[in-house]
Amino acid sequence: MKPTDPQIVWLEEKPLGLAERLYLPLFVQGLATTARHMVSPKVTVSFPDERPTVGNPLIYRGVHRLNKDEQGRVQCVACFLCATACPAHCIDIVAAESPWPDREKYPESFQIDELRCIFCGMCEEACPVDAIELTSLLDLTGRSREEMIFDKEKLLSVYDITKDAEPMKSAGHTTASATGGHAP
């Protein structure tokens, strides 16, 4: 941007008063602020010793899980909407004929590459049956790249770990689905 650009608004600084030019009030102000913060309560969370509190688990975007319905079956219907919505292309689904009468397909394999995932939550938004959800688990670690590709069993086990602390975000919806109120 050129300095002659008419869009630039040149602001006039407020002239300093004598007290400010003597520098003493500013000196005291600066030190007082520093001293106040020296003794104020600290915000650090000593992570492995204490867990950080997640503000609202409903909107936190951590590790994925695949939800199960009441009969313990994977809720996913292998519609590929999440894989289509995923901007990082980290979801890989292999669909197969469903063994159950209430849906046509189910995921034979369902893999999420957690290293590619950018945790944007688009899969959760796209899912028509609320099968994929992001939990508030935040310490996602592994010793190899292979270990970080979560398969169906692992994603279902994440549901088992987190279902008590975090119920399904649309609990009412699943009840309706189980009673046949919502046809897929």
């Binding site: 300095p3 008063g17 500013l26 913060h37």
Partner: protein, 434 residues
Amino acid sequence: MNALLPSATTIAALVKIGLLVGGLMTAAAYLVLLERWIAAWVQDRKGPNRVGIPLTDIRLFGLGQPLADGLKIILKEDFTPSHVDRVLYNAAPLLILAASLAIFAAIPFGSVLPPLGIAGLPDPVPFLVAPGLDVGVLWVFALSSIAVYGVLLGGWASNNKYGFLGGLRSSAQLVAYEIPLGLGLLGVVLAAGSLRLDRIMEAQAASGVWYAFAQPLGFVVFLVASFAEAARLPFDLPEAEQELVGGYHTEYSGIRLLLFLVAEFLHMITAAFLIVIMFLGGWHLWGVTGAGTEVTWAGALLRFAILSAKILGVIVFFMLVRWSWPRFRFDQLMNLAWKVMLPLGLANLVTVAAVEELRPWLVEHVGSSAAGWLAVGLPWATFLVGWIVAGVFTPSSTDNTPILTHGPLDAEHDLDHDPLDDVAGGHRLEASPR
């Protein structure tokens, strides 16, 4: 017969050098930890508190951190870029560290030991590597000027624009602030009548009036200048991380970077030593330590402890200041040095000289008590008047609108161009319509 054996004084000096260098290096390492702690606390964090005794779970509030930091930086790759001037590049960190350490030959780190009674060793033994060095202050200042060369050579030899800019800035800044530093110091030398730092401490202990109270203006000038000399915030322009990556040590890595960083901390320790010794009474504290050179072992250790505590206090102040005020712009820095600190330092020097010159006459004519009050009152009056005058004449606002000059291309398009503008060196840009 013992011509080949070192004399007792040599051995004493070597022991003192060993203690001092070991102590300084440990202090520098732990000051890094202190700096990180204070930085963390000021920013509402906890700071490094994990590393304790190696191979155990004992944490000790993170007191093992310096060991881990040191090991890490020593084991890092020491990379030399291909575009540097190799001789100067290698010499600069050595030069700066050697100069920063050699400064301490003339700086006392305590008072004196009680008589030891060792043959060939003159008693009492002072806490000073080079006792009786009559040019102590000059030695300190000469070597701190040589340390500037380390910075300059580092910046120049790096052959890097950030390094070069850092070296350029520090040359201007350090040279400019040597003058107020010297002026602040001269007042003390005049009042104490000696260039020896131990004598300066003894003079303050004898009168009980620290020079910070007798020469407030000199104290302020010296304090500000020593911040600038140690390149600490708010005067850390030579290595302004946000602007210059790392300044003069941008191209350094591994142990050579370590040498630069240790030298920087040594500069801060030197500045704290000088402030405490010359203005804050050194080892003297009213009612706790006596004034004489006759001491017991307890007294000697007490004086050492008081001096160390004062120095630690000044260093903590250095570190708090870092988080309290924003950095100066370079022109503001130069204005402060040449237009404020230099005149104030001169005013202080003249006042102190006048007081010292008139003191015998005053004692004779108005009595020693009144003369004492006058000797303290006059510098305080100079301090207040000088401070207020400096404040009143400080510009109350700065104009940052760019000054446009006419280039050759502008002239082609600008038919109404007045050639006189070129003579005037361009014109100030009109503020745009609001």
